[in-house]
C-alpha cells in the first residue's frame, strides 16, 4: 500500500499547525482592538440632538454654572436634565425667533417634553451616582472632559470598567478640591497631585479600600 500523503503534506500541515496559533492571536487582537475602538465605545462621536445645544457657548462664553441646568448633581444619583422651563427663562427674551430653538418653544407651548439623546450610556447593571462623586471631589471634567469647549457634546472616555477602576483603585490621582469640582482646566503637577490627592482622600473620607467591590456599582 502506497503512502496516503506526499512529503509536501508535512510542510502544509506544519504551516497549518504553527500558522493557526499566530492567526488566532491576530484575530483575537483585531477583535480586541475593535472592542476598544471608538467604533464600539462611542468615544468622540457626536450624537445628533433635537437642538444643537452648545455647552461651549453657555459655559465658556456666558459663564453659566453646570448646576444652573443640572440641578440635582450634588444631591441625587442623576445630575438632572433641565426642564424646558429652564431654557425658557432666558430664551423667552433672547433669540425668540431662532430656528434652532423652535423645538424648545414648541415643547413649552405644547407641554411635550424635549427628547434628548443620551451621550454617556452605561449598561443596565451599572449604577452610577453623581452625588457620591461630585461631593467627594471628582470634577465634572474628569469624566465629561472639556465640555466647556464642546459646541456639540461627545463622549470623551471609553466608559470601560477598567477606566472606572483606574480611579476607584487610586482616587488620590484624580481628586480635586471641592471648589474646583465644577471648574475646567484644573490640573496639578503629578507630584503635587499625589500629595494633594492623599490629603483630599483623608479630608473627604473616601474609602481607601473596597471601592472596587462589585457591589459598589453593580446591584
Amino acid at each position: 500500500m502506497g503512502q496516503l500523503f506526499r512529503s509536501t503534506s508535512n510542510v502544509v500541515s506544519r504551516y497549518a499547525f504553527f500558522g493557526a496559533v499566530p492567526a488566532l492571536l491576530v484575530l483575537y487582537g483585531v477583535a480586541l482592538a475593535l472592542d476598544w475602538s471608538p467604533w464600539e465605545t462611542g468615544e468622540r462621536q457626536v450624537v445628533e440632538q433635537p437642538v444643537p445645544f452648545s455647552h461651549q457657548h453657555h459655559v465658556s462664553d456666558l459663564g453659566v454654572d453646570c448646576r444652573y441646568c443640572h440641578t440635582s448633581v450634588e444631591t441625587a444619583p442623576s445630575a438632572g436634565m433641565p426642564p424646558t422651563h429652564t431654557c425658557m427663562t432666558c430664551h423667552s427674551q433672547l433669540y425668540t425667533e431662532s430656528d434652532v430653538l423652535a423645538p424648545v418653544r414648541a415643547s413649552y407651548r405644547t407641554g411635550q417634553p424635549l427628547a434628548w439623546t443620551r451621550v454617556y450610556r452605561l449598561p443596565d447593571y451599572v449604577y452610577f451616582n453623581h452625588q457620591a462623586h461630585v461631593t467627594h471631589g471628582v470634577g465634572c471634567e474628569t469624566c465629561h472632559g472639556r465640555i466647556d469647549q464642546m459646541p456639540l457634546v461627545s463622549q470623551t472616555v471609553s466608559l470601560h470598567m477598567s477606566w472606572c477602576l483606574e480611579c476607584h483603585r487610586q482616587p488620590e490621582k484624580y481628586l480635586r478640591p471641592k471648589e474646583s469640582v465644577f471648574a475646567f482646566g484644573y490640573r496639578l503637577p503629578e507630584a503635587e497631585q499625589a500629595r494633594e490627592g492623599r490629603r483630599l482622600v483623608a479630608e473627604y473620607g473616601v474609602p481607601t479600600e473596597g471601592l472596587d467591590d462589585c457591589s459598589v456599582c453593580h446591584r
Binding site: 444631591t75 441625587a76 426642564p83 424646558t84 417634553p113 434628548w116 449598561p123 453593580h218 446591584r219
Partner: protein, 1014 residues
C-alpha cells in the same frame, strides 16, 4: 465507582422535623430517575448543540441595548419636590375587602413601584400584608380592562355619561324604581355618603351587599358588632377556628401585638429565667396560620366547635351546659379553661367568620365572665359606611337574584364585585343577569360578571384615584392617587356613582375633600401626609364598649352543628377563603398565584385537603410511607366531592393536622375569565357553596375518580437533607438553658482560610422563628423590591420558582396532630461561602462589608454555585422569565434600583444591596456612618411580627448585634463551617404542663426527638 452513601436514603429524618410526607417516607436525596443518565441527547448531538449555542451566544452578544434607552426626557416644567432618580413616599391606603391598610407608596418619577407599611396607620404599624405588597402588580397587570364596553363592544366614558343622563331622567319620574346597587364591603365615608345620597334621591332604589369571603355571619350572631382584639394584652389566647393573624381585617396589627407577647430574649441568665410568653390554644378543622402559631392545636370538625365553646364556658363559669367531648377535646378544653381562669382579664377567646355562628355568643359570654371584654377585646360596630343588610347575611345576593328573576330589577349597578363567579351554587345569578335590562359592572377586569353585563366600566386601582377608607378599628384614612389612571377610560366607584347622581361631574378629589370639609386646609394636608385622619377630627363612632354581652340577641342563635354521628356520611365540607387569592379577586395576580400557601405550600391552584387517616381509609394511599403522590413531582388522585346535590372534582392533598372527616377546599379558584394568569386555575369551591351554609357542613360524599391531576407544591423543594435546620425548646427548657440550640456544638470551627477582618460595615441579619407566623408578606415584598419574575405553574413544578426568600414549613410530631415551625430562608451571606469557591468566572464574590454579591454580567450560568449551596437559596433563570418588551406596563413596575435579570443568569438574595447603597451614599455625603435602622431590607420592613432584623454587626448599639449575642442564636447549618451572617434564634413554645400527648409540641433537641408516623 466509590459506593458513597446517598443522603436520606436509609435513615429516617433526624430531629423529628419533616417538611412533607416524602421526608417521613425516607424519599432519598435524589428524585426518582435522577440517578440514571439522560438518554434524550447523545454525546455527539450534545457537542453539536453546544457549538450552536456558543455561536448564537456570540451573535446575540453583538446586539446592543434598545434604542429607546438612549432617550433622555426631562420635564417641561419640573414639579416642586421632584428630583429625578430620587423616590418620594406618599401616604395612602390599600383597601382589602373594604378595609384599609395604611401604606406608603414609593414613587419613582410618578411611578409607584413598591408599597411599604405606614407606621402611623393602626392597621399597618409600619408593616404590610402580602396582599398589600402584591397590589402593585394589580396596578400594572397587563390583563387589566382598559376600555368601557357596551354590549361586548368598545365604548367611551362619554357614552356612559350620556346613558347616565337618560337614567337620571327616567329615575326622576319613578323614584329609581327598578334600580338595584350591589357592592362589597364599603368603609369609605365618601362612597358610602354618595350611595346613601343616591338612595335618598331615588327612594325606590335598593341596596345589596355581597362579600363572598366575609358574609358577616359573626356580625349577625353578635347583634351587629365585631370584635376588635388587643392580642398584646392577652396572656392566654384561645382560638376557635379563628385566624386573626391572617384573615381578619386587622391581621397585620394583630401580628405585631401577638409577637410582642411571644418574643423571648436572654441577654442575661436572669432575663432568660424571667422570660414570659403568652400561651395560645387553637381548635380548627384545617391548619391555619394562627393555628400553626398555637402551642396547643386541636384538629376538630367545625361542628365540634360549639361543644368546645360550651365546655370552655362551663370551665370558666360562664354558663353551664354539659357537652360530650372526646378525650382529646376534653383535655384540651380543661387545660385551656384552667389557663383562662388563671389569666382572668388578660385572656382572649376568639372565633373567626368561618366558625359556626353559635359559638360567637358563647365566646362573648366567656370574655365577659373573664373580665376580658374591654381589656383584650372590644365589641364595636364595624366601620361599614353603609347600613348592614337586614336578615340573614348570606341571603342578600339570593334576594337580589330572586328580584332579578322576577323581572323587578331594570338597572343593576355592580361596584367592584364579581357575583357571576362568586355566587353560591343555589343562586343562579349568572343566568338571571341577562334578564336585567341595564346591568352596569365596574371592575378592574373583564371578568365573569363584566362579560355578562350590558355595560362594563374599567375601575381605577386605589393608587390611581381619590377615595377614603376605614381600618378594622374604624380609623379613617385618605386614599390619594399616586399617578393618573394608566387607562383614560378607567374611573373610580365615586366617579360612576356621581355620574348616576348628578350632571355636575364633580372630580373624586372634590368629593373626598367635601366629605372631610370639617378639616381645615392644614388638617387636610396633615391627613394626606400622614395617611390617617386624626381621631379627634373624625366623627366616626369610636370603637368602644357596646351593649353588654348579656343583651346580645344572638345568645339564642340556633346551633347549626349536628352531632357527628347523625351525619349521613363521615365527611364534612369545609370551605374557606384562600390565603393568597382570597375569594378569587386576586386570581389575576401572578405573585399571589405563585405564592406558596402558608401551610400546604401549594401554588397555582387549590386541592381538597384531607386528613392522613381519611386518605388511608379511602385507599388513596397504602400507608403514610407511600405518600409519594403528595410530593410535587407526582400527580394527585382526583376526588369527586358531592355536597347537597352539587359536585366538583378536585385533586386530593393529604394535609397533616387536618381534622379527620373534614375536607377543606379554598375559595377563589376555577375562574373562567381572569386573564392569562387566573383563568382555569384550580377548582371553584363556589360550585359547592350554599347561601344558607356559606362555609359548608356535614354530608359530604367523596368518591375516588381514578383520574389524577398535578398538585404543585414547593414543600419538597430546596431541601436541606435532614440536617438540623430548626431547633426547638419549650419555655421551661429555655428558662433553664437558653443556649439550647447549640448544646454540644463547638463554638468555632477550624478553617483553612485566613480570617478576614471586616473593619467597615459588617452586615448581618437575625431571624426569630418563634415570632414568624408564615404569612408570606416578606416573600411578596422581596419579589416587588427585587424585580423577581413569575415563572408559572409548569416551571414551579420543575422546582424553578424564583423567590429569593422562601418560608420553610416544618411539621414536628405525628401527622395527625403535628406542631408547625416556619423558617424564612434566604441567602445566608456566609463568610466562607461555598458558592464562591466553585464559580469559574468569579461571578459570585465577597465584598468588603461581608456581602456575598452576585455579579449578573459575569455569570455564565454553570450553576456550580447553586449545587454547592447547602441552603439551596440560589435561583437560576432557566428561561427568559422576565417579560421583556412584551408588556409595557410591567416595565413601568420594575424597581429602577435593581438589575433586571436575563436568561442564563444565577440570582439570589442580596440583603437589598440597593438599600444599603442608598444609605451609604447619603451617610457619606453627610460625613457620618450609617445609623442603626437606616438600612431596612424589604422583608424586614414588611414583616408584621418584626421577626427579621438587619444591621451592622460592627455597630455595638445595633439591634442585630444584641440578637446575635443571644444564647439561643445559631447559624443555620453552621456545622458546615460556612459562618453564615444570618443567624436564627431557637424556636420557643409555651405548652401547658397540664397537657401531654401527641398534641403537645415536644422539646426538640437533636437527640431526644423521635418521629411517629401514622
Amino acid at each position: 465507582m466509590l459506593p458513597l452513601p446517598i443522603l436520606g436514603q436509609d435513615e429516617a429524618p433526624e430531629h423529628g422535623l419533616w417538611r412533607g410526607p416524602a421526608d417521613l417516607s425516607g424519599g432519598g436525596e435524589f428524585e426518582a430517575g435522577a440517578l440514571e443518565a439522560p438518554s434524550l441527547v447523545g454525546r455527539r448531538d450534545f457537542l453539536k448543540l453546544s457549538g450552536a449555542v456558543a455561536a448564537l451566544a456570540a451573535v446575540s452578544g453583538c446586539i446592543g441595548p434598545p434604542e429607546r434607552s438612549r432617550r433622555l426626557v426631562p420635564y417641561v416644567d419640573q414639579p416642586g419636590g421632584v428630583v429625578p432618580s430620587v423616590p418620594l413616599f406618599f401616604a395612602t391606603a390599600y383597601v382589602h375587602a373594604g378595609y384599609a391598610e395604611g401604606v406608603l407608596a414609593e414613587s419613582h418619577e410618578g411611578r409607584p413601584m413598591k408599597l411599604e407599611g405606614n407606621p402611623q396607620h393602626p392597621a399597618s404599624l409600619g408593616a404590610a400584608s402580602a396582599w398589600a405588597q402584591a397590589s402593585i402588580l394589580d396596578l400594572y397587570d397587563p390583563a387589566r380592562s382598559c376600555d368601557v364596553r357596551f354590549r361586548g363592544k368598545t365604548a367611551t366614558w362619554q357614552a356612559v355619561l350620556e346613558a347616565a343622563r337618560q337614567m337620571r331622567a327616567a329615575w326622576a319620574q319613578t323614584g329609581g324604581r327598578g334600580l338595584a346597587i350591589l357592592t362589597g364591603t364599603v368603609t369609605s365615608p365618601t362612597l358610602g355618603g354618595q350611595i346613601e345620597a343616591l338612595l335618598t334621591q331615588y327612594p325606590n332604589a335598593r341596596l345589596y351587599r355581597d362579600e363572598p369571603a366575609a358574609p358577616g355571619l359573626r356580625r349577625a350572631a353578635l347583634g351587629g358588632v365585631e370584635p376588635v382584639y388587643r392580642v398584646d394584652r392577652a396572656s392566654v389566647v384561645v382560638l376557635l377556628d379563628a385566624d386573626p393573624l391572617l384573615m381578619e381585617p386587622g391581621a397585620v396589627a394583630y401580628g405585631r401585638q401577638f409577637a410582642s407577647r411571644r418574643r423571648v430574649r436572654a441577654s442575661s441568665p436572669a432575663e432568660a429565667r424571667a422570660a414570659t410568653m403568652s400561651r395560645v390554644y387553637a381548635a380548627e378543622p384545617s391548619p391555619s396560620v394562627s393555628g400553626a402559631a398555637a402551642d396547643h392545636r386541636l384538629a376538630v370538625a367545625p361542628e365540634r366547635l360549639v361543644a368546645l365553646a360550651k365546655a370552655l364556658a362551663a370551665g370558666v363559669g360562664a354558663g353551664g351546659a354539659s357537652v360530650t367531648l372526646t378525650d382529646a377535646e376534653a383535655a384540651w378544653a380543661r387545660a385551656a379553661a384552667a389557663d383562662l381562669r388563671a389569666a382572668g382579664a388578660a385572656s382572649l377567646v376568639a372565633a373567626g367568620e368561618t366558625a359556626p355562628p353559635a359559638v360567637h355568643a358563647v365566646l362573648r359570654r366567656i370574655n365577659a365572665a373573664l373580665g376580658a371584654e374591654g381589656q383584650t377585646v372590644t365589641y364595636a360596630p364595624p366601620p361599614d359606611a353603609l347600613p348592614s343588610p337586614a336578615g340573614d347575611p348570606g341571603s342578600a345576593l339570593a334576594a337580589l337574584t330572586r328580584e332579578m328573576a322576577a323581572g323587578r330589577v331594570e338597572t343593576l349597578l355592580m361596584l367592584g364585585v364579581n357575583p357571576a363567579y362568586s355566587a353560591p351554587a343555589d343562586v343562579p345569578f349568572a343566568e338571571v343577569l341577562a334578564r336585567v335590562e341595564t346591568s352596569i359592572h365596574l371592575g378592574r377586569h373583564v371578568d365573569e360578571t363584566a362579560w355578562r353585563s350590558v355595560w362594563h366600566v374599567p375601575e381605577t386601582h386605589p393608587l390611581e384615584a381619590w377615595s377614603d377608607a376605614r381600618a378594622y378599628d374604624s380609623t379613617a384614612g385618605i386614599v390619594q392617587p399616586i399617578l393618573a389612571p394608566l387607562y383614560s377610560a378607567a374611573h373610580s366607584a365615586l366617579d360612576l356613582v356621581e355620574a348616576l347622581r348628578s350632571s355636575a361631574d364633580t372630580p373624586g378629589q372634590d368629593l373626598v375633600r367635601a366629605q372631610w370639609a370639617r378639616l381645615d386646609d392644614a388638617a387636610w394636608l396633615r391627613a394626606l401626609s400622614e395617611g390617617v385622619v386624626g381621631g379627634a377630627l373624625d366623627e366616626a363612632p369610636a370603637p368602644g364598649l357596646s351593649a353588654p354581652a348579656t343583651s346580645a340577641p344572638a345568645t339564642s342563635a340556633p346551633a347549626t352543628s349536628a352531632p357527628i354521628e347523625s351525619s349521613p356520611t363521615p365527611f364534612t365540607l369545609d370551605l374557606r377563603p384562600d390565603a393568597a387569592v382570597y375569594d378569587g379577586r386576586h386570581a389575576t395576580n401572578g405573585w399571589l398565584q405563585e405564592l406558596p400557601r402558608p401551610l400546604t405550600k401549594i401554588v397555582w391552584g387549590n386541592a381538597a385537603l384531607i386528613a392522613p387517616a381519611d386518605a388511608l381509609r379511602l385507599g388513596l394511599i397504602e400507608s403514610l410511607e407511600t405518600l409519594r403522590w403528595a410530593h410535587q413531582t407526582v400527580d394527585a388522585p382526583v376526588l369527586r366531592l358531592t355536597w347537597r346535590g352539587q359536585s366538583v372534582e378536585a385533586p386530593a392533598f393529604v394535609q397533616p393536622g387536618q381534622a379527620p372527616g373534614v375536607v377543606t377546599l379554598t375559595l377563589g379558584y376555577g375562574r373562567e375569565r381572569a386573564g392569562d394568569v387566573g383563568t382555569g386555575v384550580g377548582v371553584s369551591a363556589y360550585r359547592l357553596r350554599r347561601s344558607d351554609a356559606p362555609w359548608g357542613g356535614p354530608g359530604l360524599e367523596l368518591a375516588v375518580t381514578g383520574k389524577t391531576h398535578p398538585v404543585v407544591t414547593t414543600q419538597g423543594h430546596q431541601r436541606m437533607e435532614g440536617r438540623a435546620p430548626v431547633r426547638r425548646a419549650t419555655l421551661d427548657r429555655f428558662h433553664a438553658d437558653p443556649a439550647f440550640p447549640t448544646v454540644g456544638e463547638p463554638a468555632d470551627l477550624p478553617s483553612l482560610f485566613e480570617p478576614y477582618v471586616y473593619d467597615g460595615y459588617k452586615w448581618g441579619m437575625s431571624i426569630d422563628p418563634t415570632t414568624c407566623i408564615g404569612c408570606n408578606a416578606c416573600v411578596v415584598a422581596c419579589e416587588a423590591e427585587n424585580n423577581s419574575p413569575v415563572v408559572g405553574r409548569d416551571q414551579v413544578r420543575r422546582e424553578r420558582e424564583m423567590h429569593w426568600l422562601r418560608v420553610d414549613r416544618y411539621w414536628v410530631g405525628p401527622a395527625e396532630a403535628p406542631a408547625v415551625v416556619f423558617q424564612p430562608v434566604m441567602c445566608q451571606h456566609c463568610e466562607h461561602a461555598p458558592c464562591e469557591v466553585v464559580c469559574p468566572v468569579a461571578a459570585t464574590v465577597h465584598d468588603g462589608e461581608g456581602l456575598n454579591v452576585m455579579v449578573y454580567n459575569r455569570c455564565i450560568g454553570t450553576r456550580y454555585c447553586s449545587n454547592n449551596c447547602p441552603y439551596k437559596v440560589r435561583r437560576f433563570n432557566f428561561l427568559q422569565y422576565t417579560d421583556w418588551g412584551k408588556s409595557p406596563t410591567l416595565e413601568l413596575m420594575r424597581n429602577p434600583e435593581v438589575t433586571v435579570r436575563t436568561r442564563g443568569v444565577m440570582e439570589k438574595c442580596t440583603y437589598c444591596v440597593q438599600r444599603i447603597a442608598r444609605a451609604r451614599i447619603t451617610a457619606q455625603a453627610e460625613g457620618r456612618r450609617i445609623a442603626d435602622g437606616e438600612v431596612v431590607t424589604a422583608c424586614q420592613a414588611t414583616c408584621p411580627t418584626q421577626a427579621i432584623t438587619f444591621g451592622d454587626l460592627n455597630d455595638p448599639k445595633a439591634g442585630v448585634v444584641a440578637l446575635h449575642a443571644q444564647p439561643h442564636a445559631y447559624g443555620l447549618l453552621a456545622e458546615l463551617g460556612t459562618r453564615p451572617r444570618t443567624q436564627y434564634l431557637g424556636h420557643v413554645s409555651n405548652p401547658s404542663p397540664a397537657l401531654a400527648g401527641p398534641a403537645t409540641p415536644r422539646d426538640a433537641t437533636p437527640t431526644d426527638e423521635t418521629v411517629t408516623p401514622a
